[in-house]
């Protein structure tokens, strides 16, 4: 990988760099697009795995989302962060895809639990809890689950989440409040004895 490629990949590490990449994408720069793609693929993957268990569908939604970014890069005007813009596109694409497929939404915790028995105890405990969280999240309404994961796994502010989900800030706060109260109840047994 040459120095230019390294520099381009480094741009995807800051909000300002991401905005710069989008500007280059608008001019048809595929190297900039690949850098943004590689930065967002895991983030969008984590975001979407709470909405569907189909790996193929997740990849399709990620690709649809980033194809829109490629096509519409010139319309990005910098009034919001690139991440807010991209996640809003992904959220809409995912909602549309799930509606079209009538996809049942739940977690794949059973698949994950099966292969972890040979791991060290601490890691098993962590994965067990992760699976429990996944299972608990899966029973939340989609809007609460989406707001929850944007806050906890993508470190977004309530303003950004409200923008992504196209709803008032107070609605976002209310959704998170109900989501975490419900999760606390669902995870009560799993968290007993933990500090």
């Amino acid at each position: 990988m040459d120095r230019r490629t390294d520099d381009t990949l480094n741009l995807a590490r800051t909000p300002e760099g991401e905005a710069c990449l989008v500007g280059r994408i608008a001019n048809g720069d595929k190297r900039a697009f690949e850098a943004l793609y590689r930065a967002y693929f895991p983030r969008l993957g984590r975001f979407l795995q709470r909405m569907t268990r189909s790996t193929q569908l997740i990849e399709e939604i990620v690709n649809d989302t980033l194809l829109i970014v490629w096509r519409k890069a010139a319309t990005f005007n910098g009034t919001s962060k690139v991440s807010t813009w991209v996640f809003a596109i992904a959220y809409r694409r995912a909602c549309n895809a799930l509606r079209a497929l009538d996809e049942p939404v739940d977690s794949n915790n059973e698949e994950r639990e099966g292969g972890d028995s040979d791991r060290p105890e601490w890691q098993f405990e962590r994965l067990r809890l992760a699976a429990a969280v996944d299972a608990a999240l899966a029973v939340l309404p989609l809007a609460q689950r989406t707001a929850f994961q944007l806050a906890f796994y993508h470190d977004m502010s309530y303003v950004e989440i409200a923008e992504i989900m196209d709803c008032p800030v107070n609605t976002t706060k209310t959704r998170l409040f109900h989501a975490r109260k419900r999760l606390a109840l669902l995870l009560e047994d799993q968290l007993e004895g933990r500090p």
Partner: protein
Amino acid sequence: MTDHDQSHHEAQAALPWLANGTLAGAELARVEAHVHDCSTCRADLALLHTVRAAGAEPPPGLDVDRALARLLPQLDEAPPAGRWRGWGAANDRNWLKWVGAAQCCVIVMLAALLLRPMPSVPPPLSDNYRLLGAAPVVQGTVIVAFRPDTPEREVRRIVAASGARVVGGPTATGAWVLGSAETPATVAARLHAEPFVTLAEPLGRP
């Protein structure tokens, strides 16, 4: 609702963002102060940290290279929409900033024109300068009176034939004031030759 209830309500609504580090400013200070003194909020925050740590696993089975390889051929089929289209957007800073700058320049230029000191004495008008509606330069005037039975058509003919035009009148005695680029004496002489004219006398300059 007491102050404690109010701050508890605010902290409960803001805990997720205290946990992810995106609270800021006065709100952060208020929520942190409340959580410091509230065991319920501290317990809730601890639970959120646990859930946050547990859920950070990347999704299994996703392959970025495989997905990117599928997408790359589509990029050529759908190139980015031209930048010029974005320039048309009402909220596009690219063209708005230039329009704003041009507008400022025009305003400054107009202000400079308005504030420019005006000459205290207006420049003399050239003898050759005349407004579109202005009468020809009048050398002198002639007062003329007609017989009472003179038809209006005849009055017009006599005035035109004299080389003058009516610039005033009728006066209290029924006379008219004629002006002409020719000398008043010349005009008066022509008028005297008309049988309907009872009076024709130059006024002012001879």
